[in-house]
């Protein structure tokens, strides 16, 4: 294998491009977690076999990529160079696809995307509405390269930022200044300016003559988010290059990536990428022949949300329980092994190389606000979101900061499925908040979302329809945090239990009038008294739902009614006599045998026996089960 140097990087990229271009078509099969669980690997295997059998392997190359983004339509295959998008692929489609598209030259229409049933097929990926408003920086290589082949990454421009810095002899101070001017703020939730963090770390390291560390936070504890893992799975070299650039800026020789063990694919691809980078001279004792020394180790998280918090993460990487400590001393100054440490999120690291190669001004021009004086002046660049929940086009999206929630949900997301109504958009994970429909035109940037009582967070964006009960959602987040609180400090440990108790009694219809004030009081105490961010922001989901959906709380308390029909204790399942056609599909699944009726006649639910498990609702194929 070649050793990459400052001089030969472009030649290696060109050579890889030449090989790539020699194929007539490249078939990019998505092997992200979503597509893999809907069978993309067996599709890939059958595809490869068919190509081999027909002796087409010199013309057609199959590449297994990371998440393409449009997970709702997986398994996906994009055919390059044209960019033809095929969806919902199964192994049985292979012969037809090869014969028609690649032998006869007629792309297969019925495997293409359509905006709705009966509408015309849209052949090209770029013409699909889902992709139209997106702009990719962190996800620049999503679905475009083989994450297990460093040459393919180099072909797509990996390590060019590093090459530029080394070739032009850009000094650490200048590099930090560049990051400052780009205005980039941390993508992990807090939105702290990355340049300022690096500067503080460098200063601490120089003053104390202690070598700094750079750390990548891939804990991704936010339930309902998969941005960070997707970046690592699709483009691990982007993270590695970002960390090398960070190391140059703060003078680190060792970097660490913290990824949870529950992400086996991300771990596997990262280990492989690090090994390849070492072999190719992009990590180790003499980076690109420049004399720079830097290497990366990986730590596997063992499933604790609080380990995403900076001080807890450091403790966990030292082989200890991940309990936060008081942060009057910041980890930039005293972090891993008590040395100055830069901790950034996966997406932040992955955004660094393009900023370095394309320039601070290019990045600063994207987004909102004016970051020319200080990164605090606005939100520059793009943000990756995992758009999920009750929305048609679920998947991974990257949009310029400042785009409205409406554009994300309706233009990119395609609106709410099954003709239901949008109720709320949740962002920021368990520390974030829920925004109602009236806030749809808000700009998505750090400061606007914060003012509205939610937050940007790491990028989970969960769309909720009118069947979602906001009291239940608040209770859901609180119960999540109650499980995850490390228990070190009292306001968080006991506060969460108390808040949970109040919310539970409200969802059971036993709420008291003074409960809403009590929730606000408890929230204030936890905000004030908790040690780490988990406890401090834990009540945000409660406060934001109280702010925007107060009448729903009141309906539970005053009328014993759950307007969304979600709270078990307050609902009754019945069968609509008009709609039920007596198919009997609900009879067997009902665990208490509460449903009776003759075949082809209307069925009824015995309310005494019903335990409100909702199985009949799931089982009915004709929407005949009603919730009251």
């Amino acid at each position: 294998m070649p050793k990459v140097t400052i001089e030969n990087l472009s030649a290696i990229a060109a050579e890889a491009q030449e090989k790539h271009a020699a194929y007539k078509s490249i078939l990019l099969v998505c092997a992200g977690t979503g597509c893999v669980s809907s069978g993309s690997l067996s599709f890939r295997d059958v595809l490869q076999k068919e190509i081999d059998n027909r002796e087409l392997s010199s013309e057609l190359k199959v590449v297994a990529t990371g998440c393409n983004g449009f997970c709702a339509h997986g398994p996906i295959c994009v055919v390059q160079p044209e960019g033809i998008f095929y969806q919902h692929l199964k192994a049985r489609h292979v012969p037809e696809l090869i014969e028609q598209h690649f032998v006869q030259g007629k792309p297969v229409e019925h495997l293409m995307y359509r905006a709705a049933k009966g509408e015309r097929a849209i052949p090209l990926e770029k013409d699909i509405q889902f992709f139209a408003k997106q702009q990719t920086i962190a996800l620049r290589n999503r679905g475009r390269l083989d994450p297990e082949d460093i040459a393919d990454a180099i072909r797509r421009g990996a390590y060019q930022g590093l090459q530029k810095v080394l070739a032009e002899g850009i000094k650490a101070e200048a590099l930090i200044d560049l990051i400052l001017r780009s205005g980039i703020r941390g993508r992990g939730g807090g939105g702290f300016p990355t340049g300022i963090k690096w500067q503080t770390c460098r200063q601490a390291s120089l003053e104390r003559k202690e070598t700094a560390y750079v750390v990548c936070n891939g804990d991704e504890g936010d339930p309902g988010a998969f941005m960070d893992r997707s970046i690592v799975e699709a483009d691990p070299h982007a993270v590695i290059e970002g960390m090398i650039l960070g190391a140059l800026a703060v003078g680190a020789q060792e970097g660490l990536v913290y990824i949870r063990k529950e992400y086996p694919l991300a771990l596997q691809r990262l280990y492989k990428a690090i090994d390849q980078a070492r072999e190719w001279g992009l990590l180790g004792d003499d980076l690109m022949g420049s004399g720079m020394k830097f290497d990366i180790q990986v730590h596997q998280g063992a499933g604790a949300f609080v380990c995403g918090e900076s001080t807890a993460l450091m403790a966990s990487m030292e082989g200890r329980a991940g309990e936060p400590r008081a942060k009057y001393v910041h980890t930039v100054e005293y972090g891993f092994r008590n040395a100055p440490t830069v901790l950034n999120n996966v997406e932040t690291w992955a955004s660094i190389p393009p900023i370095v190669s394309k320039g601070a001004e290019w990045f600063a021009a994207i987004g909102v606000g004016d970051v020319s004086q200080s990164p605090w002046g606005g939100s520059s660049g793009t943000k990756v979101f995992s758009l999920v929940g009750n929305v048609c086009n679920t998947g991974l999206v990257e949009v310029p900061m400042g785009i409205s929630l409406r554009e994300i949900v309706y233009d990119i997301g395609g609106g709410i499925p099954n003709g239901r109504k949008l109720k709320a958009i949740q962002s920021g994970g368990p520390s974030g908040g829920c925004l109602p429909e009236s806030q749809l035109d808000l700009a998505v940037d750090f400061d606007t979302l914060q003012e509205a009582g939610s937050m940007m967070g790491s990028g989970g964006l969960i769309v909720m329809d009118d069947r979602t009960c906001m009291v239940d959602v608040a209770r859901y987040f609180i119960s999540f945090l109650m499980d995850e609180s490390c228990g070190k400090c009292t306001p968080c440990r006991e506060g969460l239990v108390a808040v949970h108790e109040v919310l539970t009694r409200i969802t059971e219809g036993k709420g008291r009038r003074e409960d809403l004030d009590l929730l606000e009081d408890l929230g204030a105490a936890m905000k004030e008294g908790s040690l780490c961010g988990l406890g401090q922001s834990a009540v945000n989901p409660v406060l934001s739902t109280l702010r925007y959906f107060r009448e729903e709380y009141e309906a539970h308390i005053n009328d014993g009614r759950c307007p969304a029909g979600a709270c078990k204790a307050l609902i009754r399942y019945t069968i609509d006599t008009e709609t039920c056609n007596g198919c009997g599909a609900c009879v067997k699944p009902c665990p208490t045998a509460a449903i009776t009726g003759k075949l082809k006649q209307v069925h009824i639910i015995d309310q005494e026996a019903c335990i409100q498990c909702g199985t009949c609702l799931d089982a009915c194929n004709f929407d005949a089960v009603r919730v009251e």
């Binding site: 977690t33 979503g34 893999v36 669980s37 809907s38 997970c71 709702a72 997986g74 504890g221 936010d222 339930p223 309902g224 988010a225 998969f226 893992r229 997707s230 063990k261 529950e262 730590h299 596997q300 063992a302 499933g303 604790a304 966990s316 990487m317 030292e318 082989g319 200890r320 329980a321 991940g322 309990e323 995992s386 999920v388 929940g389 009750n390 679920t394 998947g395 949740q426 994970g429 989970g460 969960i462 909720m464 329809d465 979602t468 959602v473 859901y476 987040f477 999540f480 490390c486 599909a585 609900c586 699944p589 665990p591 498990c613 909702g614 199985t615 009949c616 609702l617 799931d618 089982a619």
Partner: protein
């Protein structure tokens, strides 16, 4: 199957060596042991303690802190119901309740024959397919409570007793 799983000293030794006997990697060692033995046997913990010069108290602090570890043997087939937010709004609670009923298990527990254990996990990373369940290493999306029984039947061992009742029913 009994809960007494014999600890293979050599295997544990290899695991410890794989992580360089480095005390900063005790979590990784324990993860590998958890994977092999489906819990953390005391003998293995002692081996880690002496090889990495870490005291047992600290190791047990770690073992009880992280969700991934268990001091009791877990089931052969772990069932992880995603209770992440995306799955929650798509009815994950009903799916979890269905597993709970079918297996007669509370989340976090293991069946007596050590065949299944049931857990709620927060996001399996394919939220687009919500609600999602992982049975062993296999992810399954688009599940609902009515499909749970059928899914489990594919994994259930047929005990002689069950066969008998089944045959008896067949004879009715």
């Amino acid at each position: 199957m009994t809960s007494k799983i014999v600890v293979d000293r050599k295997e544990v030794c290899d695991i410890i060596d794989r992580w360089g006997k480095n005390p900063e990697y005790v979590i990784e060692m324990m993860q590998d042991i958890q994977e092999s033995y489906r819990h953390l046997p005391r003998a293995a913990m002692q081996q880690i303690a002496s090889a990495t010069h870490t005291d047992m108290a600290r190791l047990y602090h770690v073992a009880t802190f992280y969700k991934a570890f268990s001091l009791q043997p877990r089931g052969e087939i772990p069932i992880q119901v995603c209770t992440g937010t995306a799955c929650h709004v798509q009815g994950a609670q009903r799916v979890m309740d269905a597993f709970s009923r079918e297996l007669d298990l509370r989340p976090g527990d293991t069946t007596e024959d050590l065949q299944f254990s049931l857990d709620g996990v927060r996001c399996l990373g394919c939220c687009s397919l919500a609600p999602v369940v992982a049975v062993g290493k296999k992810l399954q999306g688009g599940l609902d409570s009515a499909k749970v029984g059928k899914l489990l039947d594919r994994y259930r061992k047929k005990t002689p007793q069950e066969k008998e009742t089944r045959d008896a029913q067949g004879n009715d």
